[in-house]
């Protein structure tokens, strides 16, 4: 099976090689997809529990979603306007037995079998909150609604960097309410997340950010987004001090999803929404990069926070 290690002696390659050498990640022969060891999974789960602990008095409703979402949701959210290059759509076969033999023969011969595949009604979910909004149509209580989400996201950006996986886990929270409610909630979480990460010894800082909109027209969208301070990120230097890695992002959607799905506040206005998402693999890699590839040797205060029962 072809190796997919980063080329050249870059910091990204050295990090990739160390993660593989320590048996924490396993190459799956394609860019940006990895198998995860028991140790990697344990750190990821323990950090996810830290997030839960920090939010335990918030009263969030829990939802988990599969890695697929209705294609209709992708279309209606305008995802293809902003991120056409990142969307992974799911295709399948619906031909007869003779066509299925042709397809299998082509595949076995290393030839293309794409013409036998047709678009289905689902795509890979680019954000865990995407499937949530359509389920919220209708009025919400005065206090708003709060959700805690977990799932696998897909972004079609094959990369050599272990910090840029195509398929990765996001722990998200979504607040639904008035403009003031969701802004105050976002600000509270900016402070809380920064403390959560710096308490674990990570060199984290907050910054205004923009999404990776596609093409020339996307640059204007990104500039507007920054000017209106709709997106913040928490950044940690992993493979580069100048280009630190975003491990958590905070997004104000204004009434975009509220209007799309008829989610209404008490006075009948379209509800505002905001979300925040932790990239769980990125946080695990930041911890391994900062404290070493053997969690048994991590500083005692960090271990005490993650393994409280030790």
């Amino acid at each position: 099976m072809a190796q997919c290690a980063p080329s050249g002696d870059s910091p990204a390659q050295r990090l990739h090689d160390e993660l593989v050498r320590h048996g924490l990640l396993f190459s799956l022969g394609v860019k940006g997809a990895f198998g995860y060891s028991g140790t990697f999974e344990q750190i990821l789960e323990l950090f996810d529990r830290r997030i839960s602990a920090s939010a335990r008095h918030d009263g969030a409703e829990t939802r988990a979603f599969p890695p697929i979402v209705s294609r209709h949701v992708i279309e209606r959210h305008g995802y293809l306007d902003s991120f056409p290059h990142l969307c992974g759509s799911v295709f399948s076969f619906s031909g007869n037995e003779s066509q299925s033999r042709d397809m299998a023969r082509r595949a076995a011969a290393g030839e293309s079998w794409s013409e036998f595949q047709a678009m289905t009604d689902v795509a890979l979910t680019p954000a865990i909150c995407y499937p949530l909004y359509p389920t919220l149509s209708g009025p919400i209580p005065a206090a708003g609604r709060l959700f805690s989400l977990l799932g696998w996201a897909y972004r079609h950006e094959p990369s050599d960097e272990p910090t840029r996986m195509r398929s990765f886990r996001m722990r998200e929270f979504v607040q639904v309410g008035t403009s003031e409610q969701v802004s105050a909630w976002r600000d509270m979480w900016l402070r809380r997340s920064l403390k959560l990460l710096t308490d674990l010894g990570l060199d984290a800082r907050t910054d205004i950010a923009s999404d990776p909109f596609f093409g020339r027209s996307g640059r204007l969208l990104a500039a507007n987004q920054k000017e209106q301070r709709l997106k913040y990120e928490i950044l940690i230097p992993i493979t580069s001090a100048n280009m630190p890695t975003a491990v958590c992002s905070f997004n104000l959607h204004r009434d975009y999803f509220g209007s799309k799905w008829q989610i209404r506040t008490e006075n009948g206005e379209p509800a505002h929404t905001a979300c925040l998402g932790f990239g769980l693999e990125r946080v695990v890699i930041a911890l391994l990069h900062t404290h070493g590839f053997d969690p048994g040797t991590w500083p005692a205060p960090v271990r005490a926070l993650l393994w409280p029962a030790d």
Copy 2:
């Protein structure tokens, strides 16, 4: 958003309606994909822990895999020969800005945008063990190797039945070794799994089974598989007493994967492999169907096993 409830007053529809009415599952507007409540997730996690507890002295190596797998693995495993109808392949866009605008406009108008999508190097994983085998090339120790896996599988079989999800979680174990080692391991797990499920008050039984091979030629493959007793399942009546639902399957692969990926026993022969997989959502639904939709009212012995710290 279109509702996707089963039609007619079938047992599958009544089960679907009850799961939704109790807020355990949320419709995502497509067949076979659901959002999961916090209660559903908790039961799933607690059952997964029971599996881990029953295997805690086995010494399995843990691996987690993303919902995607290299397309090359699907091709090399001959998946399209046996299950062309179940494969979900991932497509993406790689055109220019003008094409991206055409694609987005088509999508917004409810027209097809499939011609702008091209096949990528990944597909949705149909079984969690698929990405494992290529990572095992080389010799294995005399005692064999044992793996514990967790991940999301996709099978393209849109269905109205909540017990037949397209995207679902599998807890798998894979044993690699000699023919005798993997057969003995499979037999041990058949007994262990049956006890695990019946201890939880489930009406489970074991049966010889076959895979859902495609087409007329598939019927011969299925008959051979049954004759050679390569596949067993544990079945629980959920929506039908005559057609009980498989919640766990046990598969001997002989040296199929060992030969494909040059996995060798100590004496240089291609290794044999066997796997077993629990369909975690199916087990949760079996528990809810058997004991009631409110876990707080489940029988004390069942609660004591799942919530041991209560």
